[in-house]
C-alpha cells in the first residue's frame, strides 16, 4: 500500500480532510517536539511546539505543494524559535531529566543506566554548542533534512550550514570525551 507523501496529506488537509492532518501530525510530532526540547527550556517547549502547528493550520488554505513538507514545517519552527529568542533572549536549556526510565528488558538496568548517563551527557554537550550549530545538528538529526534544506530553513548558505554541522560534530565529540571514545571502542 502506497504511503501518502507529506505534501499530499497537507493538500488533503487543505481540502478539508482532518484525518490527513492527523496522519501528518503523527509523523512529525516527536521529532519536532525534540527539536524544541533541545533548544529551549521545558517551560517553553509545549508553547513553541503548539504555536508551530497552529501556524501550519492557519496557513493551510495558502499551502502550495512543497518539494519537502518537512522543510516547510521546520522553516515555520525555526521562525517560531527565533521569535522566542527575540522575546526571551537565549534561555537555558533543560537539564537532563531526572525521571527514572522504566526498565527496558532488552538492555537491563545497567544498560538503562548507561543510556540515562549518555542522554544527560549529550544534552549537556548540546547545551554548550552555539545556537546555530546546535540547530544545524538537530535539523540534520531530528528533522532528517539535507544540507540544502537546512540552508533554506535557516536562511543561510549551504557551505555555511555545512561548516556549522562540522563544528557541531567536532565539539560534541570533544565534549562527550571519554564517553565517546568508550562508545567507539565497543564498536
Amino acid at each position: 500500500m502506497d504511503v501518502p507523501a507529506d505534501q499530499d496529506l497537507m493538500l488533503r488537509f487543505r481540502d478539508g480532510h482532518t484525518a490527513a492532518f492527523g496522519e501528518l501530525y503523527d509523523r512529525h510530532r516527536g521529532p519536532l517536539y525534540r527539536y524544541f526540547a533541545r533548544q529551549t527550556t521545558r517551560a517553553s517547549v509545549d508553547d513553541l511546539f503548539q504555536e508551530t502547528w497552529m501556524r501550519v493550520i492557519r496557513a493551510k488554505d495558502d499551502y502550495r505543494p512543497d518539494p519537502s513538507f518537512r522543510a516547510y514545517l521546520y522553516r515555520i519552527a525555526h521562525n517560531v524559535l527565533v521569535d522566542h529568542y527575540r522575546r526571551e533572549g537565549h534561555a537555558s536549556l533543560p537539564q537532563a531529566s531526572d525521571d527514572i526510565d522504566p526498565i527496558d528488558p532488552a538492555i537491563g538496568p545497567d544498560g538503562q543506566y548507561e543510556r540515562a548517563e549518555l542522554r544527560a551527557a549529550f544534552a549537556a554537550a548540546l547545551e554548550r554548542l552555539p545556537a546555530e550549530q546546535r540547530e544545524a545538528f538537530l535539523l540534520h538529526e531530528e528533522a532528517g533534512l539535507t544540507l540544502e534544506q537546512i540552508a533554506a530553513v535557516v536562511g543561510a548558505g549551504r557551505e555555511t550550514v555545512k561548516s556549522r554541522l562540522r563544528y557541531a560534530v567536532a565539539r560534541l565529540r570533544e565534549t562527550l570525551g571519554a564517553r565517546y571514545r568508550a562508545m567507539e571502542e565497543l564498536r
Partner: protein, 208 residues
C-alpha cells in the same frame, strides 16, 4: 577540507548520530498538547465551511422570496386576456393614446380651416376609423389604458390614470381608477385626480 578530513568528519558524524540515537531522547508532547493541536485542525476545517452558511442562507432566502413574488405576480387581481389578444392585434398598430391625442390635439389648432378638417376627420371618419361617438374600442373589450401585467404599483398606476386624463381618455381613466380601487381597496386616491374625473369618482380620497 581534504579527503582525509572529509572522511574523518563523516566518521565523526556517523558516530555522533549513533550516540544521539542510543541516548534515546524520547521527548514527546503531552496528551493535552496533542489534543489541542488536533482540535485546532478540526476547528479550522469546520470554520472554513461555517463561514459560507450566512451567505448560503441569504441566497436561499432570496430565491424563496423571488419565487413567491413571481407566483403572486402571476396570480394578480387582473389576469391578462389571452383570448382577446387576436382582437387586439389590429389595434396594436394604433396606440390607444394616439387617437385620443389626435382628438384632443385637434381643438387646439387655431386655424379655422384646419379645425374644420379635423372635425371632418372626427365626424366623417367615423365609418372607417374608430371615432368618439362610435363605440370606441376602449370600453368593454378595449385594452386597458395602463400597462399589464396587473396589478401595477399604486404610484405608477395613479400616474398612468393621470396620464389618461391628460390625454383626454376620461373613460379609460375612469376604468383604470375602478380597477385600481378594486386592486387596492382603501388606498387613498389623490383628490386632484378624482376631481378631474368628476363627482363620484374615487371611493377613498386622500386627505390632501
Amino acid at each position: 577540507m581534504s579527503a582525509g578530513e572529509h572522511d574523518e568528519h563523516a566518521a565523526d558524524l556517523a558516530a555522533i548520530r549513533r550516540a544521539y540515537r542510543e541516548a534515546g531522547f524520547d521527548d514527546e508532547p503531552p496528551p493535552e498538547v496533542d489534543a489541542a493541536v488536533r482540535a485546532a485542525a478540526e476547528h479550522a476545517v469546520h470554520r472554513r465551511y461555517r463561514q459560507y452558511l450566512p451567505p448560503l442562507a441569504l441566497a436561499a432566502t432570496v430565491v424563496v422570496a423571488l419565487g413567491l413574488l413571481l407566483r403572486i405576480a402571476a396570480l394578480g387581481p387582473e389576469r391578462p386576456e389571452p383570448e382577446t389578444q387576436p382582437e387586439l392585434a389590429p389595434r396594436a398598430l394604433e396606440p390607444p393614446a394616439a387617437p385620443a391625442a389626435t382628438r384632443i390635439m385637434a381643438p387646439a389648432v387655431d386655424d379655422t380651416a384646419s379645425m374644420r378638417a379635423e372635425e371632418a376627420f372626427v365626424t366623417g371618419g367615423a365609418a372607417s376609423a374608430p371615432a368618439v361617438g362610435d363605440g370606441p374600442p376602449e370600453p368593454d373589450a378595449a385594452p386597458p389604458f395602463c400597462a399589464t401585467p396587473r396589478p401595477l404599483a399604486p404610484d405608477a398606476w395613479l400616474a398612468c390614470i393621470a396620464a389618461a386624463l391628460d390625454a383626454g381618455s376620461i373613460d379609460a381613466a375612469r376604468d383604470e381608477l375602478a380597477a385600481f380601487e378594486a386592486a387596492y381597496p382603501g388606498y387613498a386616491v389623490p383628490s386632484a385626480l378624482t376631481e378631474r374625473l368628476g363627482p363620484g369618482a374615487g371611493r377613498v380620497r386622500a386627505a390632501c
